[in-house]
Symmetry: C2
Subunit: 215 residues, 2 copies
């Protein structure tokens, strides 16, 4: 009975890790759509969110079924609840990649990002990508040590967002209000993607060590 | 045993409803800080978020304990899982009210909102307030009929956010980039507060009717 439980739990965690890969690709594609002003890629990210939602719901249903049939307690129970929460994180990251793709689509055929800010957005997207990758490995391997590095990357993300806001608000900003509004929102979207990766990692740390916050 | 279970569940739902009231006040206060450029109120919202986080965690711990000790199945299990998710919604709404208060604080002694947009922000805050109130009553009374009205209010919120963005991007916008960036983010924060109220209502609808989305 218990063996069967852990087998099913492992299968759920495997699917969660695989979904993390899907979300990571959606974020990377939405950045590509944004920087290259590529409408086809933007549409594919927007359409693909349905698959992320469906995958999330399927994994959730299996987690709830396992909860109901095996009635785990203590750490096993917390792991299943943490899994449900990580699924919510992934679904929100998928939504945020759609928001990025929609900003890209709204400004077609131009890029919503002025050329001089391509490096900053490229860097934010690279940090987000690395954070999702770290979160995935932390979940897969319960690698608590890697979680500290993720917190550093989160600091880097915050720094980049402040740098971006400073650019928009500086005296030499000459792109007008519309790109400033887009970039303020884009900065927020990437920051939130990073936040959700940090959430995922913290849930694993909490499970393994009992330290830190539950939520 | 079952009676005791429902008693404890009811107590948890009561505390969830009471926390919704706290979050509603935090959102209202953050709007007051924003429109009246009141630093003391902004600080009190920012400091008060700790209490919302602590209340969230205490209710969560009790929900998890009930889950572990009573091992509910079927609808009872789903209700507890839904409760955990509504707690996450409330915690995020609290965070968003802090974001509003921080925008207010950053622009002191001025208001971050130009006078001609006070009516729009006042209206967004009023819709958010009403949405949180509706969500609270839907949770307290399992009032599925009220959920339809909440969806209408969400449409109103989306309309207001579009109107706000149009103002920022219109030819007659003469407040410059900084208030535009603030308002783009504020619009997003109020919209997200509304989204979380809708989430809470949908979770109740799903529990009661089995219709709609799990997440």
């Amino acid at each position: 009975m218990r063996d069967q439980y852990y087998e099913q739990l492992d299968a759920i965690v495997d699917d969660l890790v695989s979904l993390t890969g899907t979300v990571r690709r959606a974020v990377a594609e939405s950045t590509k759509a944004l920087l290259e002003a590529d409408g086809a890629i933007a549409e594919s990210v927007i359409a693909g969110d349905k698959d992320i939602d469906e995958a999330t719901e399927m994994i959730e249903e299996r987690a709830l079924l396992l909860l109901a049939t095996q009635q785990p307690v203590a750490t096993d129970l917390r792991q299943l609840v943490a899994t449900l929460r990580m699924l919510s994180d992934l679904q929100r990251m998928g939504d945020l990649s759609v928001h990025v793709a929609k900003v890209a689509r709204r400004r077609m055929p131009d890029s919503a990002v002025p050329l001089n800010l391509h490096p900053t957005i490229t860097r934010m997207a690279a940090v987000a990508d690395s954070m999702i990758d770290s979160a995935s490995r932390i979940v897969a391997n319960r690698d608590v040590a890697a979680a500290a590095q993720l917190e550093d990357e989160d600091d880097e993300m915050d720094r980049l967002r402040r740098e971006l806001l400073r650019s928009l608000l500086g005296d030499d900003w000459d792109h007008g209000v519309e790109p400033a509004v887009d970039l303020a929102l884009l900065g927020r979207y990437y920051e939130r993607i990073g936040d959700h990766a940090v959430s995922m990692a913290r849930r694993v740390v909490y499970l393994v060590t009992g330290q830190g916050q539950l939520t």
